[in-house]
Each structure stands twice: as structure tokens, then as C-alpha cells.
Amino acid sequence: MKKFLISAASLGALALTYASPAAMADEHDVASDNESVTFSELTLADGAPDDGTCAERYGTDYRTTGNAENTLEQTHNTTVDGHDIVISSTGGTIGDGILSIENEYEITFPNDQNKEPIEVKVFATGLFGSGSASGVFSDGTCRGKVIIHAE
């Protein structure tokens, strides 16, 4: 159960709207739920002002399409803007009404003509059942704050 919750508490499938593990267990199509992801305080990873790269990558909110493809190997998500997102690593803790998330994604940006995936790390925390988590993200070049809302 624990493992399932943690792996579900990700950008592709966020367990935030569920008030209890029991409710979670009753919900089979969790992965198809949409999330919106909002970025703020964008700077370069060392804190220097953005040279434009970060605004281009994270200047708009992400909204997943809800058409996640889950295979044994990976969870694959897309956004309405055409981001291609693969969850490459999930982790975190959950218990006593709180949760922490440490996830890694490979994101291909719609405006990248080389279609080269970029590794993005997200650390976030939330109150279980609140429907949202907030934290920070970094892709090694850009960093900032992130808020994830289950819709």
C-alpha cells in the first residue's frame, strides 16, 4: 500500500485528492486524473537571474491530458501544451497525514526541436487529502518553486 501511494503521488498520478488510504484503494483509475503544475520564482540553478531558458521551459503552467500510459517499464504522460513526460524515479514518505515526494522526470519540451529529454527533479510536500503539494524543482540549469494541484 505504502509503495503504491508513493508511486502514485507523482506528477503523472497524484494521490492528493484522496482523504484516506481506503478511498485511494477504491480508486482504480488514479493515473488518469489530471494535474496542473504551476512554476514560480524561476532562476538559474545557482540563483542567478534567468537568461530566458527557464521562462521558455517553465513560463507556463503544465496541465496533464489525463491520457497517461502506464506500462511495467514506465509511466508516460503528456500535457495539453505538448510536453512529453516520463517518470524516471519516484520516492518519498507518507504517514500520519503528511506526505513528501522526491521524483525525477524526463521531460521533452514542445519547443525543443532536438526532442532531447531533460531530467527534472521535484521535491514537494503536502497534507494528505488536501489536493495539492508544493515544493521546489530543478533541472540542473533552472530551478524554482512548484505547486501541484490535482484537478
Binding site: G97, S100, K121, T125, G140
Partner: protein, 151 residues
């Protein structure tokens, strides 16, 4: 190297060794820390019987503990809490960090002096000198904010 760093980093810990100095500096670093709580409620959704308000109704500032040793990391507060650091975890990467720690806290208003196990998870931007996250002691949970006080 990495496990060693994790083991020696703590938001309440001042036990800086040469190996951990860099990582500590990248997270919140040494110094007194002002902690404030919000959205404090019972973990099970029941109305607060006063326990949560008395424990977390007011913030506090962590300070050095006279009895802290390398084998038993302790912190005190301006309100007279007695804090034992029991578990330290988290990551630092690409300009962002996470903290997943556990403590045994004896609250000043508790006449029985019974330690309460408190776990917390927080995230932050390296260099910002602050972090936000969630906490739970099994009875109460909520959001918290932590800020390093300038000298």
C-alpha cells in the same frame, strides 16, 4: 560521501564536521531558526481538543542545547522546548534541497514531560535561508515555515 552528508545534516543540528560543512551550508546551515506553523489540525480530522493549539499555536525559535553531543543531537528553543534529533534525511541537488527529519520534542507546557515524536518534510532553494513543508506528530499535523535568523 552522500550517506555521510545526509547523516550529518539537520535543520536543528549544529554538529558541523568538516565533511558536512558544505552540505549544511547548502541547506539551512547553522544558526537560530524561527519556526512558524499554519493550518494546524488533528491528523484524523477531529476537532482540536486544545492539544494542537497548545503545541503549535505559537511558533518558536530553535537555539543551541547545552547537552547536545555528537551521539545525541539536541536543540532547545526560546520557549523552552527540549528537542532530540532522532532521524535525518533528504537531498541536495541542482540548487534545491529537501529535508525529511524526525524528532522527539518535549513541549514546555507539558507537565508530564513526555516526549512527542514529530516528523517533518520540507523543501527549499539553496541559498534562500528558508524552507517550507509539513509536519505531523501523529495527533496533529499542519504546514510550517522555517527561516534562519540573521546574526
Amino acid at each position: 560521501m552522500k550517506p555521510l552528508l545526509f547523516a550529518t545534516i539537520s535543520i536543528f543540528t549544529l554538529a558541523i564536521t568538516s565533511t558536512s560543512a558544505l552540505a549544511v551550508a547548502q541547506r539551512l546551515g547553522p544558526g537560530n531558526k524561527a519556526i512558524t506553523f499554519s493550518e494546524v489540525a488533528r491528523t484524523d480530522g477531529a476537532p482540536d481538543d486544545g492539544t494542537c493549539a497548545s503545541r503549535y499555536g505559537e511558533g518558536f525559535t530553535t537555539i543551541d542545547h547545552p547537552d547536545s553531543t555528537d551521539s545525541a543531537l539536541k536543540r532547545s528553543t526560546d520557549k523552552g522546548h527540549d528537542i532530540l534529533v532522532t532521524s535525518i534525511g533528504g537531498s541536495v541537488s541542482g540548487g534545491i534541497f529537501s529535508i525529511v527529519n524526525e524528532y522527539e520534542i518535549t513541549f514546555p507546557e507539558d507537565e508530564t514531560n513526555t516526549p512527542v515524536e514529530v516528523k517533518l518534510a520540507a523543501t527549499g532553494l539553496v541559498g534562500s535561508q528558508e524552507a517550507t513543508g509539513v509536519f505531523s506528530d501523529g495527533t496533529c499535523r499542519g504546514n510550517f515555515h522555517i527561516e534562519v535568523e540573521s546574526d
